[in-house]
């Protein structure tokens, strides 16, 4: 015996809510779906008359092409993945902003992978990102677990490591040497004769690389090894204040405070002023990042400028070249950095 429901008209499957598809548009315009597709992807191939008819149908129906279907069909998703540790206070924002801005008019969007606190989280994010088959992946400051790294390579998705110069690159690189930054700051410190140094630093690999480059130069010049106060995440204003306060309270008498961010440097400056210590006469302060406020402080802040926007531009250019099937000979670009010496020492 048939079920009651089986006797109802022709309902076989639970129907999806009707979507305006390319078929709807094609029918309304009296053309084939191929023509509607060309209207969006190769408009120069249509006659004016055809263009007009499709345009009208598209407008009337409010049609928005389904990019999932398009991407699946064409193997181009117009999606760029940005892999960063967190989005909050990210020093990489300018790079991502630039990538988004410069690729937006070609229809690209940026999808985020926030690798977060641990490897499992990072791994899961990376895998789902690979599953979305982006046309490019930008890695900035994120640690890629080994398994994810292998799948990344196997995926053959154009990948750009940025804000660093990895010794064993996955694919393309647009960055600078953190070690070299540390050495440059170290040269400056030794040149100005500041022997006793407090370093306020994040614990990430890149901040540590800067710290090592810095210490290396000091030791080479016969200076004592710097004191270090380390913080798990990127250093904040409060970190700078408290690190300086604790160091001084413990009897430290530094001649220079080097911070892994301008925020921490700002905090250091304020703590020193609060204690009536003169900058740079008694103690010099150096930051990192050359934030918008660095030049506005009193005294203005010596810092290391990284051109995050240029990193974004170069990365976008790399991806567009790959998208056009061009080979890239020089796949590693060192954008360098600039030590900007200002009033703080």
């Amino acid at each position: 015996m048939k079920k009651k429901t089986a006797s109802r008209k022709d309902i076989k499957r639970t129907p999806r809510p009707a979507e305006v598809t390319i078929d709807t548009v094609a029918e309304a315009a009296g053309v084939s779906t191929a023509t509607v597709s060309r209207f969006f992807n190769a408009p120069q191939r249509l006659t004016q008359r055809t263009t007009l008819r499709v345009q009208t149908a598209v407008n009337d129906l409010g049609y928005v092409p389904n990019l999932l279907a398009g991407g699946l069909s064409s193997a181009r998703t117009q999606l760029i993945a940005a892999v960063i540790p967190t989005i909050t206070n990210s020093i990489f924002s300018s790079t991502i902003q630039e990538i988004s801005d410069s690729l937006a008019e070609r229809g690209y969007n940026v999808v985020l992978a926030l690798t977060g606190p641990n490897d499992e989280h990072a791994e899961r994010q990376l895998l789902s990102i690979i599953g979305r088959r982006p046309d490019g992946i930008i890695l900035s400051g994120a640690v890629v677990p080994n398994n994810a790294r292998a799948k990344l390579i196997a995926s053959a998705i154009p990948t750009i490591e940025t804000w660093d110069l990895p010794s064993d690159p996955i694919d393309m690189v647009v960055g600078f040497s953190h070690e070299a930054v540390g050495r440059a700051v170290g040269m400056h410190a030794t040149k100005t004769g500041r022997r006793k140094v407090l370093v306020v630093s994040a614990a990430g690999v890149r901040a540590v690389a800067r710290r090592h480059g810095f210490a290396k130069v000091l030791l080479e010049q016969g200076f004592p090894e710097p004191s270090v106060t380390s913080f798990a995440a990127s250093t904040t204003y409060g970190n700078g204040r408290s690190a300086v306060a604790a160091h001084l309270d413990a009897g430290g008498r530094p001649e220079l405070v080097v911070c892994s961010s301008d925020w921490a440097a700002h905090g250091a400056l304020d703590e020193l002023r609060h204690r009536g210590i003169r900058v740079p006469r008694d103690i010099a302060v150096i930051g990192f990042g050359d934030s918008d406020f660095a030049s506005e402080l009193n005294p203005s802040l010596t810092s290391v400028k990284i051109d995050g926007k240029a990193i974004g531009q170069q990365s976008a250019a790399f991806l567009m070249k790959r998208a056009q099937g061009q080979k890239i000979k020089e796949r590693i670009v060192d954008v360098g950095f600039e030590l900007i010496i200002r009033g703080s020492g």
Copy 2:
């Protein structure tokens, strides 16, 4: 006569680079593609023996499911779109971070739409985002052009407007009243008897709403209308300094400086100290956002705290409810705010 190329073996189309697909895995595991699909989406429906076979094949082949195909087929993309003006110095970061974090383990990713400087740019970003058929759209601080707004509504994608309480919501809302924030600050100002006020404000609709709420209370209490220095984008440290400097240089003698961001307030504090003006004795300063450094400043900064993380949590909860097909009765949530009175007045 046949073309030469036509006689070569069976080449009909330019083949794509071979991808490891669900078919590859199914064959290797000796099961159907349906079973492989279930391995990922409904593992509890498989026997242990089957699970093991599929698992092995997946590992051996390094298979990563194509989420475009999955999304197209299931009409669930596991993609959440975050629509914000810019990613640089975004006050909305905490909200997006929270959404990403809380939805990550369910396989969701966040795709960005940076609406940017003008309506055309915003429109294009929104349209391509709609084309990606996200399972939810979070709007924060972005202005949605009318045409895009219509398509958004037509798309039937669950949409949440955040960080505001729009009078004519698109769908769901998780935010607070900027007007009410302004009034609260105004009440505080009148209570403390500060009659002459300088407002340092961004020109965006929300900053302006706060400013209006603020001015309204002052006028109602018989206080004079505040002076206003307005900036196009969100206010920076430098903006705060220069606005205060210009105002004082022009002969202004305010008793209170209200800023549309903590950064500007920080700049205002520094400019006042630089001029030997005591805070809060001579002039009080109030910020907005309760940034991490607000409580660390000297004097500590009075500010308005918005719980951006809570906005993200509530938004994620809304989306998950919708994803499970639940109806939401109360679609507008006012998360409120908190005026935190500290040392600066």
